[in-house]
C-alpha cells in the first residue's frame, strides 16, 4: 500500500512540481530571450537595465503585472472574464506532465537510483496532447466574449478559427510520425528514434515542416499573429485585460510555445537523444537533460527569428494556407510515409 502510494502519487507529484518549476522558469526567461534576440536582430540591444544584461527583466515584468490594477469592463461577465485566461494557461501546464525530458538517469549521480525523467508515461500520450491543447481555444473565445468589446470578440473568434484550422494538418503530421514510430506513447516514440538510428526529421522532413508551420499558427506567433496584432485590432482578444489576468495570457502564450517546441523535439528531433543515436547512445555525449533543452532552445529561437523577419498573413490568406495547402500536403505525406514504411523500412 505504501509503495503504491509512493510510486503512484508522491513521486509523480514531486516530479511534477519540479517540472512546473523548471517550465515556469523557462517561460519567464524566454520572454527575456525573445526581447534580447529580437533586439539584436533589429540592430539594437534589448533590455539591459534590469540586472546584468537585463536578466532580471522578467522579474520586473512580473512585479509590474502583479501590482497593476485589475480592470474589468463594466458590463462583462465577471466569471467568464476570470475563466478565460485560466483556461488558456492551465492545459499548457498540464501537458508538461506527459512530456519526457529524458529516459532513466541519475542526473550526474545526484540521485541514488535512476529515475525516469518524466512524470508519467501514458500509453496514449499523443492523443492526450492533442486533446488538452485544444482546450486552450475555449479560453480564447471566452476571453474575447467576456470583454464586451467587438474588437476583442472578433479577435477571439479569429484566433479560435485559426487554431482549429491548423490543428488538422498538425494532426496529420503527427500521424506521419506515429506511422514511423508505431506507438502513441511519447516515450516509445523517442525510443523508436533511438532504435531506428536517426531522428524522425530525416524521413519525415515534410511532416516536420508542416508541424512547425502549424506550431507557429497554434501559438499565434508571426506570421500568423493577426488575432493579437496591434496595428489591426489593438491586441485582439486580450485588449481588455490588465494585471495578473493579462500576465496569465502572456505566460500562456509562452508556455504554449515551450510546449509545442517540446512536442516537436520529442516527435521529430529525437527527444533527449544525442545526434546519431545508434552510435552515441551511452557515451560521454549522452548527457541527461542537456540535449532535450538544447533542442527546445533551438525551436524557440526559430520562433523568435520568424517574428523578427516576416510580415503577417491576412486572415483569409491564413485560412486558405491551412486548408488549401497544408492539409492536402499533410494527407499526401501520410500516404507517402505509409507506403515508405510498408515497402522500404519493413
Amino acid at each position: 500500500m505504501n509503495s503504491i502510494l509512493l510510486g503512484l502519487v508522491v513521486i509523480p507529484l514531486i516530479k511534477y512540481l519540479v517540472v512546473v518549476a523548471i517550465v515556469m522558469t523557462i517561460v519567464a526567461w524566454s520572454t527575456w530571450a525573445e526581447r534580447k534576440i529580437l533586439g539584436f536582430m533589429q540592430a539594437r540591444i534589448g533590455p539591459n537595465r534590469a540586472g546584468p544584461i537585463g536578466l532580471l527583466q522578467p522579474i520586473a515584468d512580473g512585479i509590474k503585472l502583479i501590482t497593476k490594477e485589475d480592470i474589468i469592463p463594466s458590463r462583462s461577465e465577471k466569471f467568464l472574464h476570470l475563466l478565460g485566461p485560466i483556461l488558456v494557461f492551465v492545459p499548457a501546464l498540464m501537458l508538461f506532465s506527459v512530456i519526457p525530458f529524458g529516459g532513466e538517469s541519475t542526473i550526474f549521480g545526484l540521485l541514488k537510483e535512476p529515475v525516469t525523467l518524466y512524470v508519467t508515461d501514458v500509453n496514449i500520450g499523443m492523443i492526450l496532447v492533442l486533446a488538452l491543447s485544444s482546450l486552450g481555444i475555449y479560453g480564447l473565445i471566452l476571453g474575447g466574449w467576456a470583454s464586451n468589446n467587438k474588437y476583442s470578440l472578433m479577435g477571439g473568434l479569429r484566433s479560435a478559427a485559426q487554431m482549429v484550422s491548423y490543428e488538422i494538418p498538425q494532426g496529420f503530421a503527427i500521424v506521419a510520425v506515429l506511422i514511423l514510430a508505431g506507438s502513441l506513447s511519447l516515450v516509445r516514440i523517442v525510443e523508436a528514434q533511438a532504435e531506428s538510428g536517426m531522428w524522425f526529421i530525416f524521413p519525415g522532413f515534410i511532416a516536420f515542416f508542416i508541424f512547425f508551420v502549424c506550431a507557429v499558427a497554434e501559438t499565434n506567433r508571426t506570421p500568423f499573429d493577426l488575432p493579437e496584432a496591434e496595428s489591426e485590432l489593438v491586441a485582439g482578444y486580450h485588449t481588455e485585460y490588465s494585471g495578473m489576468k493579462f500576465a496569465l495570457f502572456f505566460m500562456a502564450e509562452y508556455a504554449n510555445m515551450v510546449l509545442v517546441s517540446s512536442i516537436g523535439t520529442v516527435l521529430f528531433l529525437g527527444g533527449w537523444l544525442p545526434p546519431f543515436p545508434s552510435v552515441t547512445r551511452g557515451t560521454m555525449i549522452d548527457l541527461p537533460l542537456f540535449w532535450f533543452f538544447a533542442k527546445v532552445a533551438v525551436f524557440l529561437f526559430l520562433l523568435i527569428w520568424f517574428r523578427a523577419t516576416f510580415p503577417r498573413y491576412r486572415f483569409d490568406q491564413l485560412m486558405a494556407l491551412g486548408w488549401k495547402w497544408l492539409l492536402p500536403l499533410a494527407i499526401l505525406n501520410v500516404i507517402a510515409l505509409a507506403m515508405l514504411k510498408l515497402w522500404v523500412f519493413a
Partner: protein, 196 residues
C-alpha cells in the same frame, strides 16, 4: 497579369528561397555592431550648429529689437530706455530682455537677425536638456537666466562620467554663418554695455 514563371523561379518558390533570404538578413544583423547609445551615461555631442537653448550676452546687445521683429511667434520681450552718457551721447539701456522659452520653436531666426559681432543672442549652445517640472516659472527666461543658463541637470552625487559641458561663450560662430549685415556694428561701439 501573371507572367509565365521560369522554371528557376518556380523552383525557388517551392523551396521558399525568398523566406530564407529574409531570415538570413536578420541573422546577419544579429552579429553586427549595435547602433544605440546608452543615454544618459553616454551622450551624443550635438554638432556645432545645433540650435539649442539660448545664450544672451547683455553687454553686447544694442537693443535694436531686430530679433524681436524676426521672431515668428513674438516671444522676445524687449524694453529699453534712452540715456545720456556723460559725454553727451545718447545710448540705449536695456531694461528687460525676456524670452518665453516654452513657446519657442528654436528656429534660429532671432540669431540670424542679430547684427552684432559677437552675436548677442545665439542658439548654438549645444544644450538640449531643458526639461523642467513647471512651465511658467522655469521656462520663462529673463535676462539674468538667459545669460547664465548652462542647461545641464545637477551633477549626480556619485562619480559618473561627466557629459560634455556646453560651449560657454564662443567668440563667434563659424565663418560660414556670417552674412553681410547692414553695417558692421561691433559690440563695444556706441551702444556700450547694457545693465551691468
Amino acid at each position: 497579369m501573371k507572367e509565365k514563371q521560369s522554371l528557376g523561379r518556380w523552383f525557388r518558390n517551392l523551396l521558399l528561397i525568398d523566406l530564407f533570404v529574409g531570415l538570413y538578413t536578420s541573422w546577419k544583423h544579429m552579429f553586427r555592431k549595435k547602433f544605440t547609445v546608452q543615454y544618459p551615461e553616454e551622450r551624443i555631442d550635438p554638432t556645432d550648429r545645433f540650435r539649442g537653448i539660448f545664450k544672451f550676452l547683455p553687454d553686447v546687445c544694442i537693443s535694436c529689437e531686430m530679433c524681436a521683429k524676426a521672431c515668428p511667434i513674438d516671444i522676445i520681450y524687449i524694453e529699453w530706455h534712452p540715456e545720456q552718457t556723460p559725454e553727451g551721447k545718447r545710448k540705449k539701456v536695456l531694461d528687460r530682455f525676456d524670452i518665453d522659452v516654452k513657446r519657442c520653436m528654436f528656429c534660429g531666426l532671432c540669431e540670424e537677425a542679430c547684427p552684432t559681432k559677437p552675436l548677442a543672442i545665439y542658439l548654438t549652445t549645444k544644450t538640449y536638456e531643458g526639461a523642467t517640472y513647471s512651465r511658467d516659472e522655469e521656462l520663462y527666461f529673463d535676462m539674468e537666466k538667459l545669460h547664465t543658463y548652462t542647461g545641464l541637470p545637477d551633477p549626480p552625487a556619485e562619480e559618473k562620467p561627466a557629459p560634455k559641458a556646453p560651449v560657454p561663450a564662443p567668440a563667434g560662430p563659424d565663418k560660414a554663418l556670417e552674412k553681410p549685415a547692414p553695417g558692421e556694428i561691433s559690440g563695444s561701439g556706441e551702444g556700450g554695455g547694457g545693465k551691468e
